[in-house]
């Protein structure tokens, strides 16, 4: 019956059907594989793009523009009485000294608005720099020196090419007149870009050219140290108890489920906890490393506990049995034999937890770490901010110069994170052990 049906065409065998579809199937196979490869490449591109973008935006922040001016430390202005009294020198008008130096450099500028524009090419931080120079060496008074002064952030941006000189004047922050002055100074070799030490030694500031990350770095340092001091012993202790001593009952089950869930609670909720419990209830002073460390400790605890339990699990029971066999008490067995063997794994987990804590921002906003604090913190209870929050604050600043500083701060933060993660990887490799 079927033969008559297929009388004209040769009979279709299964292998023919397969062969006919093979080409299509192989094409589909290749497509699928290609999509997978594309996904991986796309992901890697994002990594590359992120880093390239940050570095492209931020690498210029590591240099800073300085302007050289012959500064006359006029005795009339600085020390009219001639006493060289440090207090008089500290309170003298260094702004006037700079103004005179600029006037001598550009004698043709006389109009009031122009002189003001001229004065603004030097940073507002320059007078205090001159004051420090004079206080350190009072003999400077009455002499004329060539001094490199910090340029204003607009000039800095112009020199670094972030402000395009070819734009029409009305669309540009720096006017033609100022560009002319800068080009004049440039042709005399009086403008120079130097390594930006201010960025690493100053606290934050409203003036981009004076803003640095030292305050945030110290705040992050104090916070991390305290977080480590709180969360490491508690995490290891909790893991030790739950893994080795705890009876398996409803209570320990509850604790275990709880720890897993805590690891997945959004970080901002920990901020709410910190605000309501530590600040409102216990009166811990806000915006201090102390309260930040308390919140971050609670956040990193699950990470440390889970890693420590895994480390304890990997220690073979024979070690415990041997120790118990020679008469050690259970606690001695743990302290002298099991814990040292599990320590590398615990430390790896702790470093990863600390890296999370270092990069965390959201809960710290709740507990006042976003206060504007210029001073470099001196202890666990002095007001401070931390690096990621500083990044958040700078990212919000309208000045163009803060963009590069934000990116530079991000580079510093990422450098620390990469170092920490590298440390964790090396530690794991170094102590990896096969039983």
């Amino acid at each position: 019956m079927s033969k008559s049906h297929a009388a004209g065409a040769p009979p279709k065998r299964t292998i023919d059907i397969v062969n006919a579809s093979l080409k299509r199937r192989y094409a589909r196979e290749r497509r699928f594989r290609l999509v997978g490869l594309a996904a991986v490449i796309l992901g890697l591109t994002f990594v590359g793009l992120l880093f390239a973008d940050i570095i492209a935006k931020g690498h210029t922040a590591f240099v800073q523009t300085y302007i050289q001016l012959p500064v006359t430390f006029d005795a009339e202005t600085l020390d009219p009485m001639g006493t060289r009294d440090p207090e008089t020198l500290a309170r003298a008008n260094y702004q006037a000294v700079i103004r005179d130096a600029l006037r001598n450099e550009f004698p043709e500028v006389t109009e009031r608005r122009a002189t003001r524009a001229l004065a603004s090419i030097i940073s507002v931080g320059a007078p205090s720099h001159l004051r420090d120079m004079v206080l350190k060496n009072p003999d400077l008074v009455g002499t004329t020196r060539e001094v490199w002064l910090l340029a204003d952030d607009d000039i800095d941006m112009l020199m670094k090419g972030h402000i395009d000189r070819n734009l029409p004047e009305s669309e540009r922050r720096v006017k033609d007149q100022t560009v002319g002055w800068v080009e004049q100074l440039e042709s005399q070799g009086r403008i120079e870009k130097r390594f930006n030490t201010i960025f690493f030694t100053n606290g934050t500031s409203r003036e981009p050219e004076l803003a640095g990350i030292a305050g945030a770095l110290m705040g992050s340092f104090y916070t991390l140290v305290l977080t480590l001091l709180i969360s490491f012993p508690i995490g290891v202790g909790a893991a030790l108890y739950l893994e080795e001593f705890a009876p398996k009952n409803r209570w320990t089950d509850l604790i275990e489920v709880n720890i897993n869930n805590l690891a997945a609670v959004p970080s901002i909720v920990f901020g709410l906890l910190g605000l309501a419990v530590f600040i409102a209830l216990f009166g811990v002073p806000r915006s201090t490393p102390l309260v930040a460390a308390l919140v971050l400790s609670l956040m990193t605890l699950p990470t440390i506990i889970i890693a420590s339990r895994a480390a304890l699990k990997s220690v073979p029971p024979s070690i415990r049995e041997a120790a118990l066999g020679v008469g050690a008490s259970p606690l001695q067995t743990q302290m002298h034999h099991v814990l040292p063997l599990a320590m590398p794994g615990m430390l790896t987990g702790t470093i990863i937890g600390m890296a999370q804590a270092l990069g965390e921002t959201a809960p710290l906003l709740m507990i006042g770490m976003i206060a504007f604090i210029v001073d470099i913190p001196s202890g666990f209870t002095s007001p401070s901010t931390v690096l990621p929050v500083q990044i958040f604050l700078w990212a919000d600043s309208p000045e163009r110069a803060f963009v590069e500083r934000t990116s530079a701060a991000i580079m510093v933060l990422l450098a620390f994170l990469i170092l920490m993660n590298l440390g964790a990887v090396l530690l794991r490799r170094r102590f990896e052990r096969r039983w």
């Binding site: 397969v18 589909r28 196979e29 594989r33 997978g36 490869l37 594309a38 996904a39 991986v40 992901g43 890697l44 994002f46 992120l50 973008d53 940050i54 508690i234 202790g237 909790a238 030790l240 108890y241 739950l242 320990t252 509850l254 604790i255 720890i259 805590l262 997945a264 609670v265 959004p266 970080s267 901002i268 909720v269 901020g271 709410l272 906890l273 605000l275 309501a276 216990f282 009166g283 605890l301 008490s329 606690l331 890296a355 270092l358 990069g359 921002t361 959201a362 906003l365 709740m366 976003i370 990044i391 958040f392 990212a395 919000d396 963009v403 934000t406 990116s407 991000i410 990422l414 994170l417």
Partner: protein
């Protein structure tokens, strides 16, 4: 007279107690040669003495610092003339007490100091002086007393090791309870404030209202400042940003997991996987910066060139970047479950003549599906709880919109904006943040529990 000085002194006393206790144990045994007559090693006698010197003293110190302020304030308030407190709201009383404290410490005071306030401030200063002295005396006495107690009880028959070990066990139990206490703290802190919030604003208005404008009036006659707490725009905003993020993260994450675990040569896998995982380690504030300063302007330019009207802070920018952040979560969780699918199932499929991609699509993925779904749910809960990217790139305006090019706001953004800057603990505005926090906590917790349940249940199938 800083309390950290006291803490250092107590720590010093503890080491002294350790030294003395150890020495006394050896002496009581009859010299270093006869230690074997002791019940425990001499170290344990030392530890025993150190614990007795330290723990009670440090406990007292902690309790004292926690309650000193409240007790002092209560004492000073009791002495204030009743006419000063009459008719004042609790908030106003708090302000008054604050002023008295500032007056006592010489800080800036918000009002002209009356003689009564000055007297109260003097009393407060005197009391705090006395309290600090009393704490030092009490703590030091307790430390020395504990040391002496341990010293007297040290003899060869005392079971020092057992005692020290039982103290250690108590400490370990306390440490492991901290996880429970944290959860309790979270629940109670957000719950109390939320309940107070829901007394003022009906939950119906909160969960189903469509207008979000949390400004409350400073004066009763202000215009348009009654405050509207309809959270629907926030929920839809959160949902939209998370959906965009998942649309980016799930295909890319899943496909890279498949490629890396099934196709990629070992060498490629060994560097591609850690490089992708870098995305998970980058702080979210960095993504926020990237989204706000690079991606959002780029999308805006692109949209303008196509004649679209794109807000400078769009849901799309925040969602895209958040998706990038989540890729490694999806990929590593899916990779785990894909690897857990037994090789025998693939071999069976190959034996039937299926190509590799057919095997993956028809056999591996269906087998791994519950695990993948669990992983995706975990990623969703991360997206919902993510804060910094949306704070920096999604905007503040509570728009009820379905257009991803518009600016939207999310639950986490509103929590941050409500709780940073000036805040009073009693206003509906502040408490609204806690209500949002409670919602966030409950939703993400539910998602996590479901996800963990699915992942775990699935994993057991092949083991």
């Amino acid at each position: 007279m800083h309390s950290s000085t006291l803490l250092i002194i107590v720590l010093g006393l503890m080491s002294l107690a350790y030294y003395l206790g150890r020495k006394r144990a050896i002496v009581s045994a009859g010299g270093a040669g006869r230690i074997s007559t002791l019940h425990s090693l001499p170290t344990y006698y030392g530890l025993y003495a150190a614990l007795w010197a330290g723990i009670p003293a440090i406990l007292l110190m902690g309790l004292w610092t926690a309650f000193q302020d409240e007790i002092l304030v209560a004492l000073v308030k009791a002495e204030l003339p009743g006419s000063m407190l009459e008719g004042l709201s609790p908030g106003a009383v708090g302000l008054l007490v604050n002023d008295i404290k500032n007056l006592a410490s010489g800080a800036i005071v918000s009002r002209v100091a009356t003689p009564e306030m000055q007297a109260a401030a003097d009393r407060f200063a005197l009391f705090s002086q006395i309290a600090v002295w009393a704490m030092w005396l009490g703590v030091l006495a307790l430390a020395v007393g504990g040391m002496a107690f341990a010293w007297l009880r040290t003899n060869p028959r005392m079971r020092a090791r057992n005692r020290v070990e039982s103290i250690f066990m108590v400490i370990l139990v306390v440490f492991s309870s901290i996880a429970i206490l944290t959860t309790l703290g979270i629940v109670l802190s957000v719950l109390f404030e939320s309940l107070r919030f829901f007394q003022e604003i009906s939950p119906l208005d909160f969960f189903f209202g469509t207008l979000w404008s949390p400004q409350t009036a400073l004066r009763a006659d202000q215009v348009g400042a009654s405050g509207a707490f309809g959270a629907v725009p926030l929920f839809t905003g959160t949902l939209m940003v998370s959906t965009i993020a998942m649309l980016v993260a799930v295909p890319i994450g899943l496909m890279s997991a498949i490629y890396l675990s099934e196709y990629a040569p070992r060498r490629v896998r060994s560097w591609a996987k850690p490089t992708l995982e870098v995305l998970a380690g980058v702080p979210t504030v960095v993504y926020g910066f990237f989204a706000a300063l690079t991606v959002a302007p780029f999308i805006r330019e692109l949209g303008m060139s196509m004649g679209l009207n794109v807000a400078s802070e769009s849901a799309l920018a925040a969602g895209l970047v958040m998706g990038v952040m989540i890729i490694p979560f999806v990929s590593s969780l899916s990779e785990d479950v894909i690897n857990a699918v037994p090789q025998a199932m693939r071999d069976g499929s190959y034996a039937l003549g299926a190509t590799q991609s057919e095997t993956i699509r028809r056999v591996v993925i269906p087998a791994a599906l519950p695990g993948i779904v669990g992983g995706v749910l975990l990623a969703v809960s991360r997206a919902i709880g993510e804060t910094m990217i949306v704070v920096m790139a999604a905007g503040l305006a509570a728009n009820l919109t379905a257009n991803p090019l518009d600016s939207v706001t999310t639950v986490t953004v509103q929590i941050v904006t409500l709780l940073t800057g000036d805040q009073e603990f009693d206003s509906a505005k502040t408490m609204a943040a806690f209500a949002l926090g409670l919602t966030l906590f409950v939703v993400t917790l539910a998602l996590n529990v479901i996800a963990l349940h699915i992942v775990r249940k699935y994993r057991e199938q092949y083991e």
